[in-house]
């Protein structure tokens, strides 16, 4: 060979390269977390002022139409710190929030945080299951649809998902409840219509089955509404990937079609879908509010729904804040996960 190519590649560079990639992720995560904290700060601030814009006197809201003496009102007002100047109230609010003291619910007369923590597991169970099922279904169908765009399966699955996508969540929930909960015609109403478990819930495995039965309808409702977007994203990102030259390279290498799909197209197409899963957590949360209200699911959504009905403003405020914060954190996680998964972004 006449030209020695690259034989003197600096080894130090390699170390620096991989080192900086790892450090890069950490730094990236730190930056993102910083951004998230800023967003959370904005949520806290926004919440405070949003709920201060409320019509009416919060104390009277607390009284809820019951008769209270002026003394009682005064006392409540002092207890809630509403007699202080706005700025001081804000400072108290921030300090309280940072101490995780979200105030006391008007309705339940208990710390909002306790109420939230009690109901968090149920929501995580419901939304988590729904998310997993929806993602699984969406990705599977999206992959099949995108692999043969315009084919029978594509038209069928895209069409179906779009129909579900257009259905208001509550409507779907109510229909499911009517059809599979109470039973119509030959369809027996085998599924429970409310709650997370039976009153006389058995123990052990039977308990798990009992909860599973209770989850069927709410999960179906949530899945029906959200899976379309995973399908569509998976489909289009697969289409994108299929247009890439590396797919042709893979085929030129003599890979079978299913190998091309499994080893190249799908993993790459999954990346944007994965991000979307986290990004759209907010959507799932919105769905949870409706679904939990319909199926009396003892979760955060139900709590929030009830808070709105009452209206119980501290509870609304606390739940709203928590929902926002969790969505923000999920988004941050999405950014970081994407960063870890995709080597391109990792070192950019």
């Amino acid at each position: 060979m006449t030209a020695p190519l690259d034989t003197t590649e600096p080894v130090a560079d390699q170390a620096a390269g991989s080192g900086s990639a790892r450090g890069g992720t950490l730094r990236y995560a730190a930056v993102k977390l910083g951004g998230a904290l800023l967003s959370i700060a904005m949520v806290i601030m926004g919440t405070f002022f949003l709920f201060r814009m409320l019509p009416g006197d919060p104390v009277r809201a607390l009284a809820q139409g019951r008769n209270m003496t002026p003394d009682q009102l005064d006392l409540e007002r002092r207890r809630l710190g509403l007699d202080k100047p706005l700025l001081e109230q804000f400072a108290d609010f921030v300090a309280g929030t940072l101490r995780l003291d979200l105030g006391t619910s008007y309705e339940y007369k208990r710390p909002v945080l306790d109420l939230i923590l009690e109901r968090l597991p149920a929501t995580i169970l419901l939304a988590g299951t729904a998310l997993v099922v929806a993602v699984g279904l969406g990705v599977w169908q999206g992959t099949k649809a995108g692999w043969r765009p315009g084919g029978r399966f594509d038209r069928f699955s895209t069409g179906t998902s779009l129909i579900f996508w257009s259905v208001p969540t509550f409507w779907l929930g109510l229909l499911l409840l009517m059809v599979f909960g109470s039973g119509i015609g030959p369809i027996p109403g085998i599924f429970p219509t409310r709650g997370i478990e039976s009153v006389d819930a058995p123990d052990g495995f039977a308990y798990v089955l009992d909860v599973a039965m209770h989850m069927v309808l709410p999960v179906l409702t949530m899945v029906g509404v959200v899976y379309a977007q995973y399908l569509l994203v998976m489909r289009s990102s697969l289409l994108d990937e299929l247009g890439q030259d590396y797919i042709t390279t893979a085929r030129a290498k003599g890979l079978r079609d299913d190998e091309v799909r499994r080893r190249h197209a799908v993993p790459n197409a999954l990346l944007p879908t994965v991000t979307l899963v986290f990004m759209r957590i907010g959507f799932v949360v919105g769905g949870a509010v409706t679904v939990e209200a319909i199926f009396t699911w003892p979760g955060l959504g139900q709590l929030f729904y009830r808070a709105i009905k009452v209206p119980d403003f501290t509870l609304m405020q606390g739940t709203f804040m928590l929902l926002c914060v969790s969505v923000i954190l999920m988004n941050t996680l999405a950014d970081v996960v994407y960063h870890v998964l995709d080597p391109r972004v990792r070192s950019a």
């Binding site: 996508w165 509550f170 409507w171 907010g282 949360v285 409706t290 926002c324 923000i328």
Partner: protein, 290 residues
């Protein structure tokens, strides 16, 4: 010269239409939309507000289709058909106005944030990101609950929670457009900010905007009905408030399936139509998806 330009524009529109026509689903959606919109606009010609009046309601309560009016009646004996027809305007209007509101805010913020790359753009983007992560239904619910239920509030609540995704999209597009060499060329010709934003960026994002607005209308209509279900609705009869009524008056247990199914199916159909049109537009306007 100008007539020529018009001819050209018409031809371009024709080309666009020819491409759109090939999207069968999109055409189906568009047909449905046109029919729905025409019916909604014509509603006041054939009906008047009295169809929503419970005092005038003459029919039997929860009459099955065929007995009293074509599609049955509701809990006050009002004709579902007439209510649907009358309420179409409200539903479409809320969906449309909310989407337009979202689009206007989103476009403004998106273009400005994409154009001014400095701290100002960064700040705007932070704000957008912040709004973007807020769970929109929850936020809309809180907003509507705080502002009180009227048509304007509902529109504002939906619009204000829906703009960030548009802003994101538009900003990304703006950045892409601004990275194109013709922007550099324009600058080299002496163009200022306004010129670049209005003559280059806006026209280039416009098609995308059209598609995304269409999709936005769809989701706004769904959101309106969901808000109505969760208890915040405008004071006008819309499909969402009808569904709410069917829920409140337990149409299901009373066997009045028409009261639940018909408004729901109308929503699904119109939303689906918007979605199909939006997707078709996307495909036509964004060849990458073809």
């Amino acid at each position: 010269m100008t007539t020529m330009a018009w001819t050209r524009r018409r031809m371009a529109a024709g080309r666009f239409w020819n491409q759109f026509r090939k999207q069968r689903a999109g055409v189906a959606g568009l047909t449905l939309l046109v029919v729905a919109a025409v019916l909604a606009v014509l509603a006041p010609v054939f009906l008047d507000e009295d169809v929503t009046s419970v005092v005038e309601g003459t029919g039997q309560k929860f009459a099955a289709p065929g007995v009293d009016g074509l599609l049955g009646t509701d809990e006050s004996g009002r004709s579902i058909l007439e209510l649907i027809w009358w309420g179409a305007g409200t539903s479409l209007l809320i969906g449309f106005l909310a989407a337009v509101l979202a689009m206007v805010i989103g476009t403004l913020v998106g273009i400005v944030a994409g154009h001014f790359r400095g701290w100002f753009g960064a700040l705007l983007m932070r704000l957008t990101d912040w709004f973007l992560v807020l769970p929109s239904l929850v936020t809309a619910l809180v907003l509507a609950a705080i502002l009180g239920g009227s048509m304007v509030t509902i529109i504002v609540a939906i619009g204000v929670t829906a703009w960030p995704s548009t802003a994101r999209l538009i900003r990304a597009q703006t950045l892409a457009v601004e990275a194109r060499p013709y922007i550099e060329r324009s600058k080299a010709l002496g163009a200022g900010h306004w010129h670049i934003m209005s003559r280059h960026v806006l026209p280039n994002v416009a098609p995308l905007l059209l598609a995304s607005t269409t999709l936005e209308v769809a989701s706004a209509i769904v959101t309106e009905s969901t808000l109505a279900f969760l208890g915040v609705s405008s004071d006008k009869t819309s499909w969402g408030t009808m569904l709410r009524g069917s829920y409140d008056w337990n149409a299901a247990s009373n066997g009045a399936w028409w009261y639940i199914l018909i408004p729901g199916l109308c929503i699904v159909a119109v939303v689906m139509a918007f979605t199909l049109v939006g997707r078709a537009l996307e495909v036509v306007l964004n060849p990458r998806l073809r």
